[in-house]
Subunit: 657 residues, 2 copies
């Protein structure tokens, strides 16, 4: 295999999209196509097994491995699998119609389970960088500096109908002259209403001396009530190059959105909350820059998803009326705003895009998760559940969507749980119990000594304790069992997961009855929300063709155990997909694709919100769900079948005060 | 004649424009149509003599004087002259096609000589106010506050495709609730490129509680090198309600743009210059508000015209490269910018619109004057001269325009003239000389005691002295004359215009040989510019069908005397029109009409600039013009005819060192 020299620059032209890209010799042709924004299919994510990325090499030389997906005849015609092809000389590549299907699946990063769900989008970030070399002015051609720049962009890149930020005009004359009339321009496009005749108006937001196209980054954030997650994205190749997660510093002003809103109404309260989340965000940005060695000035965009209250507080919009009936947010589509004007420490040219809000309790985290997981693209009846401090649920497909929100509580993010913590290194995530001696085996994230319990760990622990008969279906400990792991503690009965010497904290890590109570309330609210929403649209859980679970509880959520404890409906396990932080996923995808940006706007508009807070059905469902898995055995037949096999003694209920 | 009660509100609906307006009973129907933005013709400006404003009263009662312009048959059909009609009851009025011609002339204010030149524009200011009453939210209808507002604007006013300023979102929730869901919204539209499919995107820039439509004002400014003029405009009726003029405080840093640019390159220089003009503007705004008793928060827009250097300094854009070959401005079309961000003391919602710049020495004052005087609307070959500190000239018509600039010097604004002053009260403007005893009669602006000499006064004085033989054609005094008015002074010979007791300054007001020298250089530069420009496009001065003169020298410029001294070409006097401050005129018209706003953008783009600074023809013409009226008698046949009739002795040249 020829190695090729990555320093040698090769120009690849893609038809019929008519887009060009310059890449290093030897680079993968599929990756080049994605980076160029050519509309190309690759269902398997580039591993060579699906054969959907066939392209015709019209001119130039490539090196390509022929797999069984390509017939001899096709090979003769010049067809190659883009993912199996390396670029050797300047190329003209034609992407045939069968390789350009809207159902393309492009997996863009190592962890990209999420990206595979949203399909058919092109890699065309809302911000673009253009390098232009301008002819210096002469007496015969002394148009203004800005006109010269715009003329150059038109001529070289066929850009038209641009608007320009005033700040760009201010620094333009000096930069043009200092750089010898060679500059890089950053443009931003915002979502457009899908209406005939509307053209995008690229906004020129920055100009830099020289060719800085290689330094092209953006930030994606999920602002959660409990945690804030951020990613630094490389926009030439569509990669996550650094990520960070921190507790939202607002936590010291209350654990859930209701207490935060109450705090915001105190004198100076809103400002303090805004400062707290800004400090969190700025801290994460610092981490990301340090990790990646990226210079802050090369960050060009910031996409933020989060629930309505979190977004409003970040933007300095009083959240007062979110809490008061009839629960109205300030805006669904927040106009673009300069990130630095809010206090976010990025360049002055960076605009913040806030994901569209659906309702007071169905925020930009949900519209983000929905477009991120492509629910809006499929006819399949899908249930989408985002389990955070607030639980938010969507049911629907490409034609319609109904949403609801239930205040589940922060148990899955470690809130209200004695040793609860976010899904970070040291969090107990795996849990097995030896049925004979009731001794546990725990596994932590990162394999470190245990520090606490994350959300996915909590599910595994409660399910394991239930299946082993250590707790009953009401969540209470069976205190008659022959094990020292169950003992009385300050908060009532508890089970010891890790003994002090095996922990990082030097204390026993336990799960208490109070923890389990909180956990049951949380899962009951989520499940009751699903039941109510499913019924409200006239279907049953068994009609659901797909269930997408989003949440920050850790990456190894066990669907079977989640059903065992009654969090998810009892339907075939293969209909479930776990996408991790769906809100962050959508924020990342919007940073990569203007198509998804337009989708976000459209999706938020098509959602109908069902208000659960005053819904009698929901309250009944909730009470019925305060049991493991549920008081109604018909709702969880497969679970009752397993529990039914346990020795009677282990299911015996202990009645405590 | 029925008086009608102005307190009684009458609704008038105009077809086919489908616009409504509410006016007081008894109000004039033409004025109502103009205020409503109905596209109506009125060539005579509403005096009843042209008959072009005929409308059909479809429903409702009016009172109308029938003139000979209306046949009995027409009157029977329900046709009325809008200008002769008073509104009595709610009306539906149809404007027939012949009354809707694009050539309509609408004179909109008392002083409106200028407005009559630009034709065919509708009264539709770039900012509009809309009062909306919104249904309060309910649990069934709890969309966001912003969505509710936009829905209301769509429903009530058919507005669509709006963008919204972030600041509006920030204050919206509280204002909506404090006002009982009744608010007034201000929108702004900017110029659009004339391209098919482009729709305007009204930008929501402000929201106020209650109905504030009656409080609808804007500001128009001309930023001159020497003086700054501002007007406060009422936008419901299109009237100037206050005006102010002040010296540009930058004067202490240099008299002309070149010295200002030099100053801007000193450390902190640009900032000092910007602060100086901001102080001037803020001072005038204060005056205007005091005069009019208008509250600053009701000013919604600011339109600024001025030469390139003045605009760039105001905007904080370094003017360095204006002065260095090849003379490039920073931008031709400056993006909209918040006025308060620059330091202008108006509400935070106010955007500044800067008139498009053509070249480094052909600024937004020229594009403003051209659209203000409608040069771009006519096939007539027109010469447009703006005589300020810099002289700027345009030749062309609706198809093409060529511009040039000649550094004339500030003589016409009082600069470089011993007793020179701006055209304000006390300025000597009229001047007659008794041929027998050479005693002067002077008249001042406002009839006050003399304070100094304004630009138009200077023309009258020099022409009068020349015609009386007090000075020769080289501008030197004839010291042999039997009058004590001519005497030696500190600056050489001088002529006493007003003796100390008759003045406000307690000193003799004189005109000196140095003044006359400066004056001749100024008029020579202007005239040479005209000659060069006229020749460059292959015509002669006699081909000019219209000459429009703009300048701040006072309102009573005498065309005949201006020709006598060789400032303007010697062509029939009736081809001349004087429009006063053309730059301010355009700024006012743009504030009144979005049509003119679009024109401004188009006109600036169609202008070709001829660089005179290195043009040999111009230098030759300039030297030949340093004489009264000109060294070449053939250029000024009518003047030489008059001068030829003077006694020989009076024309005798005195040679002085």
């Amino acid at each position: 295999m020829t190695e090729g020299s990555p320093n040698k620059k090769i120009k690849v032209h893609f038809e019929p999209d008519n887009v060009d890209i310059v890449v290093g010799q030897g680079e993968n042709l599929l990756e080049a196509a994605i980076a160029a924004g050519a509309h190309i299919n690759a269902s398997c994510g580039g591993t060579g097994v699906c054969g959907t990325c066939k392209v015709l090499i019209r001119e130039g030389g490539v090196e390509s491995t022929r797999t069984e997906k390509l017939s001899e005849e096709e090979y003769e015609q010049g067809l190659r699998q883009a993912c199996q092809t390396r670029v050797l000389t300047d190329l003209t590549v034609y992407v045939p119609v069968e390789s350009r299907l809207e159902s393309a699946v492009v997996s863009r990063e190592s962890k990209g389970v999420g990206e595979a769900l949203a399909t058919g989008w092109r890699f065309n970030p809302p911000i673009s960088k253009y390098f232009v070399e301008l002819p210096p002015p002469t007496l015969e051609d002394n148009v203004s500096d800005l006109s010269r720049l715009i003329r150059g962009l038109k001529k070289q890149y066929k850009l038209s109908n641009m608007t320009v930020d005033f700040d760009v005009v201010k620094k333009l004359p000096q930069i043009l002259r200092d750089s010898g009339w060679k500059v890089t321009v950053t443009t931003l496009v915002t979502a457009v209403e899908p209406r005939a005749g509307d053209r995008r108006r690229p906004r020129v937001i920055n100009v830099e001396p020289g060719d800085t196209r290689e330094k092209h980054y953006s930030l994606a954030f999920d602002i959660g009530t409990t945690t804030v997650c951020g990613q630094l994205l490389e926009l030439n190749r569509g990669k996550v190059i650094a990520e960070g997660i921190e507790y939202n510093q607002q936590i010291s002003h209350g654990q859930d959105v209701i207490t935060r809103i109450a705090y915001s109404q105190k004198p100076g309260g809103l400002q303090k909350l805004q400062q707290a989340v800004l400090a969190t965000i700025n801290g994460i940005i610092n981490q990301l820059l340090t990790q990646s060695q990226v210079n802050i000035e090369h960050i060009g965009h910031l996409v933020v998803a989060g629930n309505t209250t979190m977004l409003q507080i970040l933007l300095g919009l009083d959240p007062k009326y979110i809490r008061l009936a009839p629960y109205t947010p300030a805006a669904n589509l927040v106009p673009p705003v300069k990130a630095s004007s809010l206090g976010i420490k990025v360049g002055e040219h960076v605009y913040l895009f806030a994901f569209p809000i659906v309702a007071s309790y169905v925020g930009g985290d949900i519209s983000s998760g929905i477009v991120g997981s492509g629910v809006h693209q499929r006819k399949k009846l899908t249930l989408y559940m985002d389990i955070g401090t607030n639980g938010e649920i969507v049911i629907g497909n490409s034609d319609w969507m109904v949403t609801a929100s239930c205040s589940a509580g922060p148990a899955f993010e470690g809130g209200g749980i004695k040793h609860g913590m976010v899904a970070a290194n040291g969090a107990i995530e795996e849990f097995e119990i030896n049925p004979s001696n009731l001794e546990p085996t725990v596994g932590t994230i990162g394999g470190e000594k245990a520090k606490g319990i994350c959300g996915s760990g909590l599910i595994n622990i409660v399910a394991g304790l239930l299946e082993a008969g250590v707790i009953g279906q009401n969540g209470k400990f069976n205190t008659n069992l022959p094990t020292k792991r169950i003992r009385g503690g300050r908060d009532g009965y508890e089970y010891v997961l890790s003994r002090a010497p095996e922990t990082q904290i030097g204390k026993d890590i336990v799960i208490t009855e109070v923890d389990i109570d909180n956990f049951i309330r949380t899962k009951a609210a989520m499940y009751a929300g699903c039941q109510t929403l499913v019924k409200s649209v006239g279907v049953t859980c068994s009609d659901l063709e797909q269930v997408i679970i989003a949440g920050a509880f850790g990456s190894h959520i066990d669907m079977k155990k989640s059903i065992t404890i009654g969090l998810f409906p009892d339907i075939p396990r293969d209909r479930f997909t776990f996408i991790g932080n769906g809100s962050l996923l959508g924020a990342r995808l919007v940073s990569f694709s203007t198509d998804i940006l337009d989708d976000a706007r459209r999706v938020a508009k098509m959602m109908t919100n069902l208000e659960l807070s005053e819904n009698a059905d929901f309250m009944n469902n909730y009470i019925a769900a305060l049991f493991l898995p549920h008081t109604n055995a018909n709702e969880f037949p497969s679970v009752y079948k397993i529990l039914g096999k346990l020795p009677k003694s282990k299911l015996k209920q202990r009645i405590t005060i």
